[in-house]
């Protein structure tokens, strides 16, 4: 809501500075978003009379004007279509500066010298838009300073009005707030309406058929109006409020709406059949053309204003084209009504037709203020359009919305606020905003205040609503800050929450960067990753109203976002593409409204693992980079009950992928991305990924750790190099070693892998370092030797291994 202080001052005395006023409004719940100065520097502009307009010799759209600036006549090039000889317009002489900062200098425009600039209202900063240069009213002298002839100086506050305060969508509502905060009374505009002729009821009839959607419809009749432009003061105020002036009659409806908060509509009465207004729901599929020339298809829940031949307005939203006020209009039917807020909001949204009127109706206008607003507008039409006003308003009321009565408990109010505010003080705050408040002292009971809420405050329905009024008028700033005096609050992370943080720290400690990716992905990803939907849901969780298709599917995996992070950085030549993310994935569940949201950990590693350094070569990412991350994570978390199993996934390299299990339950996958995926995702072929469910990981990490005795006797180390067939996994060899090693074998570490000339075709050599010890004695060489021999025998027997 844009509030002109020049206008507001008509209803209430304002503090000396706009800054003080802004502070005051901020402190009481009306946030000031911007303070705008209008009409500054108009001393530098002068009034010019256009004497002569000639076509520019070399530009069709430009005219060459001779303009009388009082003491001199200047040649000025002008591009406005409306420039005519004889008109008075503001002129910016060379050396002056426009409100937007543009400096005006003598210039040559297409070969013709121009000494200054004829100004539009937009260039003067008093209007959002302009069709041409501004036309000043007759009476000003050429050469006069613009600031002396045009009262334009103003300060406009841009206020954020919260949706619960429709009363503040009006100058009088804001004035009421200022009055309450400064201890004044609002000066309502006073006017004397002169009514003439036959009663309005003789010319107009109103029937409300759907009273649930329209509680009241008041109409006035104003005749013999002359349609022309409004006077400067009204145009300026409308413009300050952000409303475009149109003609006196329409401007008056807007002006009174801004003043009182009551939207009004003016019909050309001669175009309303029989002067008969019917307020009713639309028939399904009924059509009407609104003022903007758009034909609109309506449904049963849309409310219409009709005459006997059909719709004349979309109630509360926009008038109809057919009954629009035009230059030839002489008789006005003025509508001032109260509609159901939710219904107006629905229609305005469905029709995508937000308007100043619907904005107010959907928040709730004062059902008690319809007639007064109509009177005020009729008066202004009388004044500004020369209209004669028929006696009386036709005031159709489907039902009467009564003021609400509430009881406010004094002690409870003080207890909620946490401030020692007395009952009388509370009552005075409520009275300051024009509520009726009566203290009731109860013997032995709690003091209460009986409050009657005027109909312009539909937001005050409950005791707590009044508590808020007391608190804000008392001032939040005056409430002493305290802390809850509870002994119930013991703050901590749960063990699971603590471990989750630890997981992130471990990964960051390994050199991975935490990414946060969008939870919605493109459906294309599902095609790339799993075209046959072998493991992703065939019907994922999707958005019904996405911003774009690129963000329309709730991710069933973290993988897509991580690959996008890889690609994003790769495209920008950023190295070190090691990412992890901890976030949720979304998979539908049978017979459940909400999908399963699993906490996942994902990693993506691509290109270089370590860069080339002066003392070592670069290391590229491979399968074992991801496996190393997982191993290190597990050992840091002291999780031993995990395993990898060869397993195919449609998005992973078929020969370099595996399933991850924890405590024999599959929790995710690890591997190199499939070359098909790498190509489609535009990531390097050596991109290794890992994605596992966090909850089982954390559960395993929280298992208690038993004490393991520390050996006191020396251990014996032996190396074992065996040659096996290339198809035998290192893990199989290791399993046999453990099995054969018995209880004395304590550690097995693979330290070398060799394939080559010294071995037979298809063979490989694996070298392990074995460590033996006993907890109760020093081992003898011969007993270790016999275990060692046993291992070799088992390897030979089981895997056909031979010593190298």
């Amino acid at each position: 809501m844009r509030v002109s202080l020049e206008w507001l001052a008509e209803y209430v005395d304002l503090p000396a500075s706009a800054h003080d006023l802004a502070e005051m409004l901020n402190g009481s719940g009306t946030a000031v978003e911007a303070v705008e100065e209008i009409g500054e520097g108009f001393e530098a502009f002068v009034v010019g009379r256009v004497l002569e307009v000639k076509a520019h010799p070399s530009a069709d759209r430009l005219s060459l004007c001779r303009v009388d600036l009082g003491g001199e006549v200047a040649d000025i090039v002008c591009g406005a279509p409306n420039v005519r000889p004889g008109m008075l317009s503001p002129v910016a002489p060379p050396g002056s500066r426009l409100p937007d900062g543009t400096r005006i200098s003598e210039a040559t425009i297409r070969g013709v010298a121009s000494r200054g600039m004829l100004l539009s209202e937009k260039e003067l900063g008093i209007s959002e838009e302009a069709d041409g240069i501004m036309v000043l009213e007759e009476g000003a002298k050429a050469g006069a300073r613009l600031s002396d002839v045009l009262a334009a100086r103003d300060t406009v506050l841009d206020l954020e009005i919260t949706p619960n305060r429709p009363d503040c969508l009006s100058m009088l509502g804001i004035a009421r707030e200022v009055a309450a905060l400064t201890g004044q009374k609002v000066k309502s505009p006073e006017f004397a309406l002169r009514e003439e002729g036959a009663p309005a009821a003789d010319a107009v009839r109103v029937d409300i058929e759907d009273g649930d959607l329209c509680s009241r419809y008041a109409a006035r009749v104003i005749e013999e109006v002359g349609i022309h432009a409004s006077p400067w003061w009204m145009r300026r105020r409308l413009q300050a409020a952000g409303v475009r002036p149109i003609s006196n009659v329409v401007d008056v409806t807007n002006y009174v709406m801004l003043e009182t908060g009551q939207p009004l509509h003016a019909f050309d009465l001669d175009l309303v059949k029989d002067g008969h207004i019917i307020v009713r729901r639309a028939a399904n599929g009924e059509a009407m053309t609104t003022l903007d020339g758009v034909e609109r298809r309506l449904a049963r829940d849309d409310l219409l204003i009709c005459d006997p031949s059909g719709p004349v307005a979309l109630a509360g939203v926009m008038g109809g084209e057919h009954t629009e006020v035009s230059a030839s209009t002489t008789r006005i039917l003025l509508e001032s009504a109260h509609f159901d807020p939710a219904n107006i909001m629905r229609t305005a949204r469905l029709q995508e037709l937000p308007s100043e009127a619907s904005y107010r109706f959907e928040r709730g206008v004062d059902p008690g203020g319809c007639v007064r607003a109509a009177d005020r507008a009729a008066f202004l039409m009388q004044e500004l359009a020369g209209g004669t006003v028929r006696p009386g308003a036709v005031d159709a009321r489907a039902r009467i919305i009564e003021p609400v009565s509430l009881v406010l408990r004094v002690r409870r109010t003080a207890a909620i606020i946490g401030a020692d505010i007395g009952g009388e003080e509370m009552a005075s705050y409520l009275r300051s905003i024009e509520l009726e408040a009566e203290m009731v002292k109860e013997d032995g009971g709690e003091d209460t205040i009986r409050v009657t809420v005027p109909t312009f405050r539909p937001d005050l329905e409950r005791e707590i609503d009044l508590v808020e009024e007391v608190a804000r008028l008392y001032g939040y700033g005056r409430i002493a800050p305290t802390l809850p005096r509870s002994s119930h609050n013991i703050g901590s992370l749960t063990p699971q929450q603590g471990k989750r943080r630890e997981v992130a720290r471990i990964l960051a400690g390994m050199g991975l960067h935490e990414a946060i990716c969008h939870a919605f992905i493109s459906p294309r990803w599902l095609e790339i990753l799993d075209p046959d939907r072998q493991c992703l849901p065939s019907a994922p969780v999707i958005l019904r109203n996405p911003i774009s298709e690129e963000m329309s599917v709730m991710r069933p995996l973290l993988l897509p976002g991580l690959l996008e992070a890889v690609r994003y950085n790769l495209n920008r030549q950023v190295a070190g593409l090691l990412f992890f993310e901890m976030g949720r994935t979304f998979v539908p569940r049978a017979r459940e409204k909400l999908p399963e949201e699993a906490q996942k950990l994902g990693c993506a590693l691509a290109a270089r693992w370590l860069p080339k350094q002066w003392h070592r070569d670069a290391e590229d990412v491979d399968f074992f980079a991801a496996k190393g991350i997982l191993e290190r994570l597990m050992s840091s978390l002291r999780v031993t009950s995990w395993d990898l199993r060869r397993e195919g996934f449609p998005f992973l390299h078929p020969a370099q992928s595996c399933a991850v299990s924890i405590r024999d339950r599959d929790v995710g996958f690890l591997g190199l991305v499939h070359p098909r995926v790498a190509a489609a995702a535009d990531v390097p072929p050596n991109t290794a990924v890992l994605e596992i469910a966090l909850d089982p990981l954390i559960a395993a990490a929280l298992e208690p750790l038993p004490y393991e005795e520390i050996p006191r006797y020396p251990s014996i180390q032996m190396d074992l190099a065996v040659v096996v067939d290339g198809g035998v996994d290192a893990g199989e060899v290791e399993d046999v070693i453990w099995e054969a090693g018995g209880e004395l074998l304590r550690e097995v570490r693979l330290f070398d892998l060799y394939r080559g000339d010294q071995l037979g075709e298809g063979e490989k050599s694996l070298a392990f370092s074995l460590s033996f010890y006993a907890l109760d004695r020093t081992l003898r060489d011969d007993e270790v030797r016999s275990v060692y021999e046993g291992i070799i025998a088992k390897l030979a027997g089981g895997l056909g291994a031979r010593l190298r």
């Binding site: 629905r346 707590i464 800050p481 946060i516 939870a519 019904r544 996405p546």
Partner: protein
């Protein structure tokens, strides 16, 4: 007998004196351990001059044998010590020399242990969590795909509220569920309702997490963002308690010197409601571009839990009262670290991630 005395006696003997003088000169001129070893061999080696001399004394007269034997052995002792002393000196020098040859270029880069990073938003969430844990709060979570009931209805948001429209809220099709009241939560506030449903008062919790609104991405809007919700319900909780709690939080988060301001505001699920501003750190409160000339930066929405919300979860508003608050993590990050564009947080640009 003092050393000088026997050296004088040695010098007085022509033969021993000669050996002494020559050995001393040789010792002095030995420049390294090798030369020194040469000196030792020349005098004390099996065929060394002093060794030979001492071997020869058995052929001398008894008295002469005693004198030469005594002086010869004293000379030997002296020479051994002098050799050891000189050897020690030479070794120190030689080691220093050897170490000098091992000098490295300390300006070469060290071996790489590349550092990873937490995401700035995660760090800020943890910082917020820790401040509230310190004030006695626990962490709770709720689903991101949520029911209208929890996101709007039980938060006292009327059915016709504009924020529920298709242009503001993402609605979700969950295959097989056949319902049209499933959405991406637009705030973390539904967790309030869920936790109150599940737990009797008193309650001191915060709920960090993602939220979604149908905003087209620009410098200050992202369709996905993070919030931290807070809720305290107990007997006798006041608006003053809310003020004290959030003042403490704000100063911890932004600096003890910052001013905090509470402005009345409106939220459907709190009443009285407030917006909380912190004084602008760029201009110190005098007004600048960042704070749009106001001197204040809005960081939080808060208020006393609306009695209607208590009604939905079966709490008795006559017995308990409470406050709730919510803050945008991205906004805090933008303000605290001067990141100019909210979209940067989800680009995962390593050049940004590595800065924090």
């Amino acid at each position: 007998m003092a050393a000088k005395d026997f050296l004088d006696e040695i010098r007085a003997d022509p033969e021993l004196g000669g050996i002494y003088e020559e050995a001393r000169a040789a010792l002095e001129s030995a420049a390294d351990s090798e030369a020194l070893e040469g000196v030792r061999v020349a005098y004390l080696g099996r065929k060394g001059r002093l060794s030979v001399l001492l071997q020869g004394i058995k052929r001398l007269e008894p008295e002469e044998k005693r004198r030469v034997g005594r002086l010869g052995n004293l000379l030997k002792g002296w020479l051994e010590k002098a050799l050891a002393d000189k050897g020690g000196l030479l070794r120190i020098g030689e080691m220093e020399e050897a170490l000098r040859r091992e000098e490295v270029d300390i300006t070469l880069p060290g071996r790489a242990f590349p550092a990873g990073t937490r995401h700035l938003l995660s760090s800020i969430i943890e910082e917020i969590e820790d401040i509230f844990i310190g004030m006695g709060y626990r962490l709770v979570e709720g689903p991101e795909v949520e029911l209208d009931y929890y996101n709007f209805e039980a938060l006292n948001t009327p059915a016709w509220h504009p924020s529920k429209s298709l242009s503001d809220t993402f609605y979700v099709d969950v295959p097989g569920s056949g319902s049209d009241d499933v959405l991406l939560r637009t705030q973390t506030s539904p967790v309030q309702v869920r936790v109150m449903e599940a737990t009797p008062p008193p309650l001191y919790v915060i709920a960090p997490g993602k939220a979604y609104r149908r905003d087209v991405p620009d410098a200050t809007h992202s369709p996905m963002f993070h919030q931290v919700e807070g809720l305290a319900v107990d007997e006798g909780i006041t608006l003053g308690d809310l003020k004290g709690t959030l003042e403490h939080f704000t100063r911890r988060m932004f600096g003890e010197e910052r001013d905090v301001r509470f402005r009345p505001h409106f939220f459907p699920f709190t009443e009285p409601s407030a917006e909380v501003d912190v004084s602008c750190n760029i201009c110190g409160g005098s007004g600048c571009r960042v704070c749009k000339g106001t001197g204040w930066l809005e960081i939080l929405g808060a208020g006393m839990v609306d009695p209607n919300v208590f009604g939905y979860v079966g709490y008795d508003p006559e017995e308990v009262s409470g406050f709730a608050f919510g803050m945008g993590v991205e906004r805090i990050a933008l303000l605290k670290y001067g990141v100019p564009d909210i979209r940067y947080f989800f680009d995962n640009d390593l050049r940004l991630l590595r800065q924090y």
